[in-house]
């Protein structure tokens, strides 16, 4: 494990991505504490300003400070993305281990269900959940999480099938290990790194869906900023003040690239370490 983590920290791209991502998260959490400006504060005398010392990222069409709005938007967007990504990871890993280890009818029924979920576009699932569970309160999170489960289950199930067919698991079983023991000692250990890699993908997907929903005006309610919604706001001023839409878009893309590099870094460090996966 030590060797693997050393391999990860010797990968410059992965470390940069990790630091950048942590930096963005810290900025979003801490910045609102260090400024006296409220993200809802409307000030028409200062509307549509370019970046200045008072407003580091300028102001929008209602004179609201963009920097604070970006930080608050980041809080909303990133927490929804990470939360739904982790729900998908936890549920997907659990179901995947169950499917792979139980096999038989349970496996085929659950996999049919997963096929059915996977055939519905994730965005639509999120929209329908949001609509039916009450709009504007971030309820689409559950839709996003559910849409993220099937790829997890497929990946983990495949890995579990491979591991539980290997010789040492058979030996352990022959020595009288119960299924629970095998899963806890051998299967989970081997599956967790793969789940971590897939989790970065699923958080990135959730981030995409969340910002798209905010962008088309379906996600979080209007006064609360959200990166996708901020982008939509700035879109109408594309010709005159492009920074209003470019900054949210760049933040979204940077986060997604970081998550992707992070996943790649974990994968590379594992193959260098010569692990089972």
């Amino acid at each position: 494990m030590k060797r693997k983590s050393r391999a990860f920290f010797h990968n410059p791209a992965a470390v940069t991505a990790l630091l950048l991502l942590l930096g963005i998260i810290l900025f979003c959490i801490l910045y609102p504490f260090f400024t006296s400006v409220d993200y809802r504060e409307i000030n028409f005398s200062e509307r549509l300003q370019l970046p200045s010392p008072k407003h580091p990222l300028g102001t929008d069409e209602m004179g609201r400070d963009m920097m604070v709005r970006m930080a608050w938007g980041g809080r909303v967007t990133l927490s929804v993305a990470f939360l739904s990504g982790f729900i998908a990871a936890a549920a997907g890993t659990g179901i995947g281990v169950l499917c792979g280890y139980a096999g038989g009818r349970i496996d085929s029924v659950i996999m049919r269900g997963m096929d059915a979920i996977a055939s519905i576009p994730g965005l639509l699932l999120a929209i329908v959940f949001d609509y039916l569970l009450g709009m504007g309160r971030g309820n689409f999170l559950f839709g996003v999480a559910i849409a993220g489960i099937p790829p997890f289950v497929r990946l983990i199930r495949g890995a579990v099938l491979e591991i539980s067919g290997s010789a040492y698991v058979e030996a352990s079983r022959a020595l009288g290990a119960t299924p629970l023991h095998v899963v806890r000692k051998h299967v989970i250990h081997n599956v967790l790194p793969m789940a971590a890699i897939q989790a970065t993908t699923s958080v990135a997907d959730a981030l995409t869906t969340c910002t798209i929903l905010g962008y088309i005006g379906v996600g979080i309610n209007a006064p609360t900023p959200e990166w996708g919604a901020l982008f939509d706001n700035g879109k109408y001023l594309l010709r005159t003040l492009p920074h209003l839409s470019v900054i949210p878009a760049v933040m979204i893309v940077v986060c997604i690239i970081c998550l992707y590099l992070l996943g790649n870094g974990i994968r590379d460090s594992l193959s260098i370490g010569g692990g089972e996966v």
Binding site: D115, A118, S119, I120, P121, G122, L123, L124, I127, V128, D130, Y131, L132, L133, G134, M135, A204, D205, T208, T211, I212, Y215, I216, G217, V218, G228, F231, K235, L238, R239, P242, S245, V246, A249, I252, V253, I256, I257, Y260
Partner: protein, 311 residues
């Protein structure tokens, strides 16, 4: 084979009915949805109120499948069918063109990357395709608009002529092609490692011949197996792109329906989307059999092509 596809096409009906049932059940079970939303037909409300849940469901399905009748909104005079037909046609045109362009662009790119495996062309293409496949459509739209509409002024921000109307197709194609190129590259790289490629090369066939006539056939199998997920991706993407370019397609109908809480419209849109996705899945199977002749034999015994072949 003919029989199999007849069965697949007939299976679309229960699939769509399951989607309708799911939405009906969610609407009935969840708190905060008043019974008014359960009534898809504003013209015969008194009659509807006496119907039970299953009767309402049956009536809705019957009307949809026999007359394509989706009812109408309380706020609108026109039946939904007319509006949906127009909007679906717009979305399908954009989606169909971009799916076609996606494959025409994605497959050659994937093959090229696989042939240059390990060199800088491959690294560059792999990085670009992975990024393009994962960033939201509106970020791509923004980048293209900033370049072509604001800086170069080749196109208008608000569509005005036929060139502007092609822009959504270009954006969707970029997204889809990235995905297809990724899958094709992986498939092609796998095929190029197979022993038969080595033996064909050692028989003296040119590299071009080996790749284009022998390897490509095998590499197309994974590329076409993602056909339905590419369709899903482009359908979702078209919702976003329609919003960006204010195209009046299915996606904007959906967004408008959500904003005004018009359940009838949303339900109808969901039915249309489910229908489109089911048809895409049938087309995927057809393409799959076309590129993989060995499946034709197993077809008679298999209920699910893609699962049988390990995808």
């Amino acid at each position: 084979m003919f029989g199999y596809f007849c069965k697949r096409i007939l299976l679309i009906i229960p699939c769509v009915m399951a989607v309708i049932l799911l939405i009906f059940m969610l609407m009935a079970a969840l708190p905060g949805t008043d019974t008014e939303h359960m009534v898809p037909y504003a013209d015969d409300v008194p009659e509807q109120e006496s119907l039970s849940f299953l009767q309402q469901y049956g009536k809705y399905c019957w009307r949809v499948f026999t007359r394509l009748d989706f009812g109408r909104n309380r706020s609108s005079v026109l039946p939904l069918r007319e509006e949906l037909l127009v909007r679906t046609r717009i979305t399908l045109r954009v989606m169909g063109l971009s799916v076609l362009a996606t494959y025409l662009l994605g497959v050659p790119l994937g093959v090229y990357a696989a042939c240059r495996r390990g060199r800088w062309q491959d690294t560059l293409l792999t990085t670009i395709t992975t990024l393009l496949a994962s960033i939201p459509a509106f970020c791509i739209s923004l980048a293209l608009m900033l370049l072509f509409a604001v800086r170069l002024r080749w196109i208008h921000v608000i569509p005005q002529n036929s060139v502007d109307e092609a822009v959504p197709v270009v954006i969707l194609t970029v997204m889809g092609a990235a995905n297809v190129a990724k899958v094709t590259r992986a498939g092609m790289a796998e095929v190029l490692d197979k022993p038969f490629i080595l033996s064909l090369t050692s028989l003296g066939l040119s590299r071009r011949n080996v790749i284009l006539t022998h390897a490509l056939k095998n590499a197309l199998v994974p590329a076409f197996s993602v056909f339905s997920s590419v369709c899903a991706q482009l359908l979702c993407g078209s919702i976003v792109v329609e919003h960006f370019f204010t195209v009046r397609g299915l996606g904007s109908a959906m967004v408008a329906a959500i904003r005004s809480r018009a359940t009838t419209t949303l339900l109808a849109c969901a039915v249309v989307v489910a229908l489109i996705m089911s048809i895409c899945s049938v087309i995927t199977d057809l393409l799959f059999v076309t590129v993989n002749p060995s499946l034709r034999r197993t077809l008679r015994f298999s209920s699910n092509l893609r699962r049988r072949s390990g995808r």
